[in-house]
């Protein structure tokens, strides 16, 4: 059985680090892993997305439309943009913090709040204001690791085994040494959410 994990957000939110951490944890747990790292202009506030596929045998790093198990969305509008990639019973793990695209900022288009709200009728959405929580426990940079914690929990509750210790080891591999404890805090917050 494979698990297909989608990530979406905008440049600068640390999606590359998220794919790194997920890939490494899955590798440590003994699975085959393939990912698409962030595609698009990273760091420039544009739309970015990536994905990770984990399982016994994975050929393509690409996820077919309608085959995603989880969507880790670092921004609600970016959940709306990619939800069609999910299976019917797919789950959305959401950072509730809005960040306006430039067309909304310039009042050319509206932020699609109603369409985002309607996603609740289609999918199980686990949401948290990760940006706010991250600032509360440290700084906004670790918002992405809160979502990693939520994913670790969701995978376990769906009986896809990646032990908590592998997640911790993986985080340790990728974040600067002085930030390890803070990132563990963020992971715990997501894991117990």
């Amino acid at each position: 059985m494979n698990k297909n994990i989608l990530l979406s957000g905008m440049g600068g939110q640390g999606l590359v680090l998220m794919t790194d951490i997920i890939c490494e944890a899955a590798l440590k747990a003994g699975y085959e892993v393939k990912s698409n790292d962030v595609v698009g202009l990273s760091q420039r506030g544009g739309m970015v997305w990536g994905n990770v596929r984990i399982g016994d045998k994975v050929y393509s790093p690409n996820i077919r439309e309608g085959q995603g198990d989880y969507l880790l969305a670092m921004e609600p509008l970016e959940a709306l943009r990619w939800h069609h990639m999910l299976k019917e019973q797919g789950k959305i793990l959401l950072n509730e913090k809005h960040i306006n695209p430039v067309l909304v900022q310039q009042e050319v288009e509206d932020y699609p709040s109603e369409a985002i709200e309607a996603l609740n009728e289609e999918y199980q959405i686990l949401s948290i204001n990760a940006a706010k929580e991250a600032v509360r426990i440290g700084n906004e940079k670790i918002a992405n690791v809160i979502l990693i914690g939520m994913l670790a929990k969701a995978l376990l509750s769906d009986e896809f085994k990646i032990d908590e210790e592998y997640w911790r080891e993986s985080i340790k591999d990728f974040v600067p040494e002085k930030a390890i404890q803070l990132n563990y805090k963020a992971f715990n917050l997501g894991f117990s959410n």
Binding site: D37, Q43, L77, N100, P101, P112, A115
Partner: protein, 597 residues
């Protein structure tokens, strides 16, 4: 043996390390920028980001002449500027094993075109390998260098943007060291004057034929026959992995060495099948090679010649070819969602410049390639052309020399990285035949780094960062060329910059400004935040129109009209919004705290 996750880029770097690579050069460009960054971690390899791709290639050629294992990596369009040295270099029997990595970009995720460099590899008489995952990227790098050594042929490793940025598991091996014999003193071999180069035309053909003979049973190609001899699919690269996801009962011939293809082998294998279908992105390169051999095959009539071929696109193409039955899966109708364009980062120094240009009397704005290409998008929409690295200056000259009505002002923009890459010759050319009647304002945006690709150093970085050794002053260089008036302006001083730029736009002649402002991302601008006083704000949106991400029109309690606001967690304190505010409604937070006390 240790296993690791690696991107395609990292795997190429690892392969070069294991293969005993001595020198690697590159110029930063997506999707291959990560190769050199990864090579950088290996002390055994000398690596550099050169001034441009042509120079990078020449540096690698030097190492190869010396008998050392050399690699040069670049994005697909980088090969265009490199083609001059490449076309002569490939005439010479390769001494030190040589690998050129080209990062093609089907789907144009970050490029101005979608050129298929397999065609350039063939044009330059190179042999080409095309890996399908990170493990192959590592192995093919090593194998390509071995082939280069054995057949004295320069090799091309072609990788696509998807695979550059895709992670998969690789197995690591130890590095092998080779002797470096030093450059031979054989001018007849290395001096490509006509009398020496003539014989090399047939030499290159013979060399490729030797590789073609090797290709007959190379382990780089994988043949997966099934019982059913109806259809054979020929493919390469990541498309093989996409195809395998469909779990079809068809035979596959996966090519790793995509040029030259063994004619003998191709005819032998395809003869067994009723139908041969080629799946490849962009041009029908493999398809055409097979057709030249007399193999009856189809490809591009079922698959798009632009963009990536996703699993779905392959499935749809194979349905069109009647290889698979009608797809049952319903296509998912997704509603269009508001686009999220990339924008200048919070605190980016270029923001003030383009706000000034947008409000100016400039008739045309000639853009170039770098972060400031984003000025073509909302909210600024201030670029009338963007072509290729360094092209803005030459294009500007052509415009002023061919216009009847030459008093209409032109603003021409180039960044520091692009200036050093290929802008300098155009500035020298500009002085030639300047008559002072033109009205051109050149804005050289110097943010002290090659920012768009992640903040690599360039010719002027050393002026601001002691870790970099290049300290070219753009102003001094232009003065040496012969421009008498070159002025440096601080981009964060909006008022002064506006006055100077508008003055230049209002007057004839060539004006050149070097607009200084350190990249907010690379040099981590982080000053106290600004906030909006909604009781002073008149809702004019001057600040909003700068497009700085923390800004937003907001409904405040007890105020009817929407007023501006700033997200204090995002603001880095560049002050540009406060400077464009006509009523001083935007204030510094440190002053707020003073008031509170």
């Amino acid at each position: 043996m240790k296993k690791m996750m690696m991107t395609g880029n990292e795997a190429i770097a690892r392969g070069f390390y294991e293969a005993g690579g001595v020198l690697a050069s590159s110029y930063p460009g997506s999707p291959t920028v990560g190769i050199l960054s990864a090579v950088n971690q290996y002390d055994e390899i000398y690596s550099e980001f050169s001034t441009n791709e042509k120079v990078a290639l020449e540096v690698a050629i030097g190492a190869s002449f010396n008998g050392a294992r050399a690699m040069v990596a670049m994005k697909h369009v980088g090969l265009n500027i490199s083609l001059d040295p490449l076309m002569a270099f490939t005439e010479i029997p390769t001494q030190g094993p040589f690998l050129l990595v080209t990062g093609d970009d089907p789907g144009l995720s970050s490029s101005q075109n979608e050129q298929d460099n397999r065609n350039l590899g063939k044009f330059a008489n190179m042999a080409i390998v095309d890996p399908s995952n990170s493990q192959e990227a590592l192995e093919f790098t090593k194998k390509a260098l071995d082939l280069s050594s054995k057949y004295n042929i320069p090799m091309m490793l072609r990788i696509t943007s998807r695979l550059c940025h895709s992670r998969s598991i690789v197995t690591l091996n130890d590095r092998v060291e080779y002797d470096i014999p030093g450059m031979e003193k054989k001018p007849e071999k290395y001096c490509m004057i006509p009398s020496n180069a003539k014989s090399q035309q047939t030499y290159m053909k013979d060399r490729l034929e030797a590789v073609e003979a090797y290709a007959y049973d190379t382990s780089l190609n994988i043949y997966e026959p099934t019982e059913d001899k109806g259809v054979l699919i020929i493919t390469s690269g990541l498309l093989y992995e996409n195809l395998k996801e469909l779990d079809l009962d068809v035979s596959i011939w996966k090519l790793g060495l995509i040029y030259p293809i063994s004619k003998k082998r191709a005819i032998e294998i395809t003869a067994d099948y009723d139908e041969v279908i080629v799946i490849e992105e962009m041009t029908p390169f493999i398809e055409n090679e097979l057709k030249l051999m007399g193999v009856v095959c189809k490809g591009k009539e079922y698959f798009s010649l632009t963009g990536e071929l996703s699993i779905e696109a392959i499935e749809k193409g194979l349905e069109g070819a009647a290889v698979i039955n009608k797809i049952n899966q319903k296509t998912i109708e997704s509603e269009p969602v508001v686009a999220r364009h990339p924008v200048f980062c919070t605190g980016c120094p270029h923001r003030s410049t383009f706000d000034i240009v947008k409000k100016s009397k400039a008739d045309l704005v000639i853009g170039d390639i770098g972060c400031y290409s984003l000025a073509a998008l909302p909210p600024f929409e201030q670029s009338n052309s963007i072509i290729s690295m360094g092209a803005s200056v030459g294009i500007t000259k052509g415009l002023i020399k061919s216009r009847k009505n030459n008093d209409k002002p032109i603003v021409s923009v180039i960044g520091d990285g692009t200036f050093f890459h290929s802008g300098i010759p155009s500035f020298i050319n500009l002085l030639h035949q300047s008559d002072g009647e033109e009205n051109v304002t050149f804005l050289i945006l110097d943010n002290r780094t090659t920012a768009m690709t992640g903040g690599q150093h360039n010719g002027s970085s050393g002026r601001f960062n002691s870790k970099n050794d290049l300290k070219v002053s753009i102003k001094d260089l232009l003065k040496t060329i012969g421009f008498e008036e070159v002025e440096e302006i601080n981009q964060y001083n909006y008022k002064k910059a506006k006055e100077k730029i508008n003055n230049a736009i209002g007057n004839k002649g060539i004006s050149i400004f070097v607009l200084n402002g350190p990249c907010a991302l690379k040099y981590k601008l982080n000053k106290p935040y600004y906030y909006v006083d909604p009781t002073v704000c008149i809702g004019c949106r001057n600040c909003i129109h700068t497009g700085c991400p923390p800004l937003e029109m907001k409904k405040y309690h007890n105020i009817d009209k929407l007023k501006s606001s700033i997200d204090q967690d995002m603001c880095v304190g560049c002050s540009v919004c406060a400077q464009v505010c006509p009523v001083n409604a935007i204030k510094l937070s440190t002053e707020l705290e003073v008031e509170d006390e």
